[in-house]
């Protein structure tokens, strides 16, 4: 048996070493290594670059540095859930929730339509990635480019979800990465912004551009990814308040912009309105312009991983922490839906308790539509119709409902038990504890 002793191996036509050996039994391969047979590595392997595997990889121990489940801080990022409505004409100064859960629409003037639309197989890009819905802002009236104007889609993220996400938001070397699909009928530079609310407010604006750094093409779905570092000035409380706000801007007037703010960096929001450089406002002045978003993911780390698709039920439950429907009578052809058991507290004044399927963020507001005989109370082989409903005591997980004002039928006495149903297709009870 012979032994070859050498420190380096070099190709006859090369000018640098291919393989280097040291006296600690280490081997360094300077270029690519191709193994046609089986390779067994018993020590640690470090790949400082990308590792591409064309076949199946079996890993006996797997330790990713970022979370693989529950990694998307955005709720309803695939725009599946629309408990309130799938469309709404939003007019005048509005900052509220009308359609898709967790997504607030804000405009200052004019009328826009906001809606959940379906994707089809011709929506190249998001369809193939498993998305079936998107949110659209339709500039119905040509809202105009007034200096006070804005048209945006926001999601406010609960602070404790950010504080406990694993993002070291005070470190400039710790990142979060935002990814989403966007399409607009007007080719212009759009803007997205991340805001913090606790302590001294900060915001990080950036222009939405394709991977080549160009303005979006009209009517073309484009995947955007943006990695954002932490900042020592950021404060996020570990509570149920507002932690981060993500805003997609279709229009933003010059009342809110100037050249004193910068893109791609954290700015101090403070009480000032000059948040970032002026934004092109062609979209705002174009009647029937559209602005579409889907597949929104915000995750800890420097890499945009594939979207974390969740089941409808999982996503609905997450949304119900902030809004839930107790009864929407129009969902039932008869307009009749059960609500709760009740007991007469006084004559024609009944109370019942509704147990909520998901604990809400705060004690919720009752959002109700009621009128004459909207609620029917059954008891003792008879019924009576109530006109009014009010919230009484509530907690994050239970609400007391008070029905009163009998308009027809038999009265209900104190101490009589019964149950209440909706009695009109327009009857509605929702609960909200939005941020």
């Amino acid at each position: 048996m012979s032994k070859l002793k050498t420190n380096t191996i070099q190709h006859t036509g090369g000018s640098a070493d291919n393989i280097t050996l040291d006296n600690s039994q280490n081997v360094t391969i300077e270029g690519n290594a191709t193994v046609d047979g089986t390779s067994t590595l018993t020590g640690n392997v470090t790949a400082s670059g990308n590792l591409t595997v064309s076949g199946t990889t079996t890993i006996s121990g797997y330790h990713p540095t970022t979370s693989r489940s529950n990694r998307n801080l955005i709720i309803n990022g695939g725009f599946q859930i629309a408990q309130r409505s799938v469309s709404n004409n939003t007019a005048g100064s509005q900052s509220t929730y009308h359609t898709l859960d967790r997504w607030m629409t804000q405009i200052q003037a004019g009328t826009i339509s906001e809606m959940r639309n379906d994707l089809t197989s011709s929506d190249t890009g998001p369809w193939q990635k498993g998305f079936r819905n998107y949110m659209r802002l339709l500039n119905q009236s040509g809202i105009g480019a007034g200096s006070a104007q804005y048209a945006e889609i926001d999601q406010r993220i609960e602070a404790q979800n950010v504080a406990q996400s694993g993002w070291d938001y005070t470190s400039s070397s710790s990142n979060i990465t935002l990814s989403f699909w966007i399409r607009a009928s007007v080719a212009q530079a759009y803007v997205a912004v991340i805001y913090t609310s606790d302590g001294t407010g900060r915001h990080y604006p950036f222009e939405i551009k394709d991977s080549g750094g160009s303005t979006l093409s009209a009517n073309t779905w484009t995947k955007i990814t943006k990695t954002i570092p932490g900042n020592s000035g950021i404060t996020v409380n570990n509570d149920t308040g507002r932690g981060l706000t993500l805003s997609f801007l279709a229009a933003y007037g010059t009342n809110w912009t100037s050249n004193s703010g910068s893109f791609d960096s954290w700015n101090t929001t403070g009480g000032g309105n000059d948040r970032f450089p002026d934004m092109t406002n062609t979209w705002a002045t174009t009647t029937n312009a559209t602005f579409d978003i889907t597949g929104v993911q915000l995750e800890v780390g420097s890499v945009a991983t594939d979207f974390e698709h969740r089941s409808y039920g999982d996503e609905l439950a997450r949304c119900q922490r902030y809004y839930q429907v107790v009864v929407r009578a129009s969902d039932y052809s008869s307009g009749i839906a059960p609500i709760c058991n009740v007991i007469g507290y006084q004559t024609n004044n009944v109370f019942g308790v509704v147990d909520l399927p998901v604990t809400m963020r705060s004690e919720p507001t009752l959002d109700a539509v009621s009128s004459t005989a909207y609620w029917k109370c059954f008891r003792n082989a008879g019924s009576g119709d109530f006109n009014s409903i009010q919230l009484d005591q509530c907690s994050n997980s239970h609400v007391e409902l008070n029905f009163y004002g009998v308009s027809s039928g038999t009265s209900i006495d104190a101490d009589q038990p019964g149950w209440v149903r909706s009695n009109s297709s327009s009857a509605f009870i929702g609960l909200q504890s939005e941020l």
């Binding site: 109700a368 539509v369 919230l391 909200q432």
Partner: protein, 60 residues
């Protein structure tokens, strides 16, 4: 008519209780019944309205 009105009161053991909600009338039969809960953003909005010098209507 004020934007907000205190919710109706209950009488318990012969004693009239304070309102536990404030009601915002949105028109067309739609109302918001807002509990007096500090982390409820509708209540926070109501408090700002009060701070601006407004007063809710008395309960029925």
């Amino acid at each position: 008519m004020a934007l907000y009105k205190f919710g109706r009161k209950k009488t318990v053991d012969g004693v009239e209780q304070d309102s536990v909600v404030v009601v915002k009338d949105l028109g067309n039969g739609r109302t918001l019944c807002i509990p007096f809960a500090n982390d409820n953003t509708d209540y926070q909005e109501y408090l700002k309205w009060v701070e601006a010098g407004n007063t809710a209507e008395a309960a029925d």
